[in-house]
Every structure is written in C-alpha cells, then in structure tokens.
C-alpha cells in the first residue's frame, strides 16, 4: 500500500484549494428550503462582503490618507490582508450554509468571526498606542 508523500499531499491541496474555496452549486444537493432561509443566508453573505470592503476601505485610508504618525502603513496593510481573507472565505461560507439547509443538517461552524474580532481589536489597540506615542 502506498503511503501519501509530502509532495502528493501538497499537490492534492493545490488541486483541491479552489474547490474548497469555491464549492459547487448547492442546488445540486437536497431540496429547496423555505425561501426566507435562503434570503437570510444571502444577506449574511453580503454582510461578510461588506465587512471585507469596510476593512479594505480602512486599510486604503490608513495607507493613503494618514501621514501623521509612523507605522500607519503597516496597520493599513494588516487591515487589507484581513479584508482579502474575509472576502476569500465568504462564498465558501454561503455555499456550505446553503447546502446544509438543503440537506436539513446543522449549519457549519466557523472560526472566522472570532479570528476577525481578535485581529481587528489588535489593530485598533496598536493604532491607539501609535496615536498616543505620536501625541506625547
């Protein structure tokens, strides 16, 4: 029996990456749920997209508009990286939730809200420290 090597595992991850980020059309499985559930799922997806865009706006604003204190460009880049991750995972969240609804299964849990909360709090604290240092 052949054991999977590191190379085949990496190759499989590369091949499956886009499929994991962009799962297939949920309508291929299960049956249509109550239309209100599908619309609620769609609004949640759009809220994630807007969160990503708000982070991008904050990041671009910090990089381009704030010139008063050192380090603002790193905070801006951190917010932009967070926005990229949030936007990249939002379709997957929508598709997995829609599939779960169609199959009558519990909605899949996600670590993204916790990750986002911790990361944005860290950026907020870091920017407050930078403002305080710059003002003294």
């Amino acid at each position: 029996m052949n054991e999977p090597t590191a190379r085949t595992t990496a190759g499989r991850a590369l091949r499956n990456g886009p499929r994991r980020l962009f799962p297939p059309d949920p309508r291929t499985e299960g049956s249509d749920p109550d239309y209100r559930f599908s619309l609620a799922n769609e609004r949640t997806f759009l809220a994630w997209i807007r969160s990503a865009l708000a982070l991008a706006a904050g990041g671009l604003g910090a990089v381009a508009l704030l010139d008063d204190f050192p380090g603002e460009e790193y905070l801006g880049l951190a917010l932009l990286a967070l926005s990229f991750v949030t936007a990249g995972l939002s379709y997957r969240r929508w598709a997995l939730a829609e599939t779960a609804m169609r199959l009558g299964r519990p909605l899949p849990p996600s670590r993204l809200p916790l990750l986002l909360a911790i990361a944005v709090s860290a950026v907020a604290v870091a920017s407050a420290v930078l403002v305080a240092l710059n003002s003294s």
Partner: protein, 107 residues
C-alpha cells in the same frame, strides 16, 4: 399575504448597500493606484464601474425575484454569489498589492 416579513426587500437593500460599499472602496483604490501610476488608477475605476453595474442589477433582480417567489421558485442565485465573492476577493487582493507598492515607493 406575500412575503409578510419583507425578506425580499431587505435582501435587495443588502445587495444595494454592498454595491455602495464597492463604489466607495473603488474610489479609494483609484486614488491609491493613481498615486503610484496613473494607469493603475484604472483598477479602482473598473471596480467603481463593476459596483455600479451590481447596483443596477440588484434593482432589476428585486423585480425579477418578486415574480420568482410568487411562482414558488427558490431565490438561490449561486452565480451572483460567486461573481460577487470572486470580485470582492480580486478587488481586496488588488488593493493589498497596490497599497504595498504605494508603501514601498513612498518610503
């Protein structure tokens, strides 16, 4: 009574708010891109145009969905979700790269 909780209208407004947010970020991206090179401002302009198109689409979709829901069809629209999901990923990725270039060239 059809759609007593106004789910469809709230969803339509969520699409429109998302398009507004896309226009705002596109405008900022135009500014950052153009400050690196005038042609790079085109990425932001492209995002503004795409978001404006999304705004028009969401208005039309609201009307189409009314008919669809009355007929008992599912409102699930994977293609729209895929386009917006991929579009937002590309836009935020591009914003990250342009901001990085801006920081490097500015320092």
């Amino acid at each position: 009574m059809f759609d007593p909780l106004l789910q469809q209208e709230r969803t339509s407004l969520a699409w429109e708010r998302t398009a507004f947010a896309g226009i705002v970020v596109g405008s900022l991206l135009t500014r950052v891109g153009a400050s690196v090179h005038v042609l790079l401002g085109g990425f932001g302009l492209l995002q503004v145009c795409a978001s404006a198109a999304l705004l028009v689409w969401s208005g039309r979709h609201y009307e189409d969905l009314h008919v669809q829901l009355r007929a008992g069809d599912t409102p699930t629209h994977p293609r729209a979700a895929m386009v917006v999901g991929v579009g937002a990923t590309v836009a935020t990725g591009m914003a990250t790269v342009l901001a990085l270039v801006f920081v490097v060239t500015d320092s």
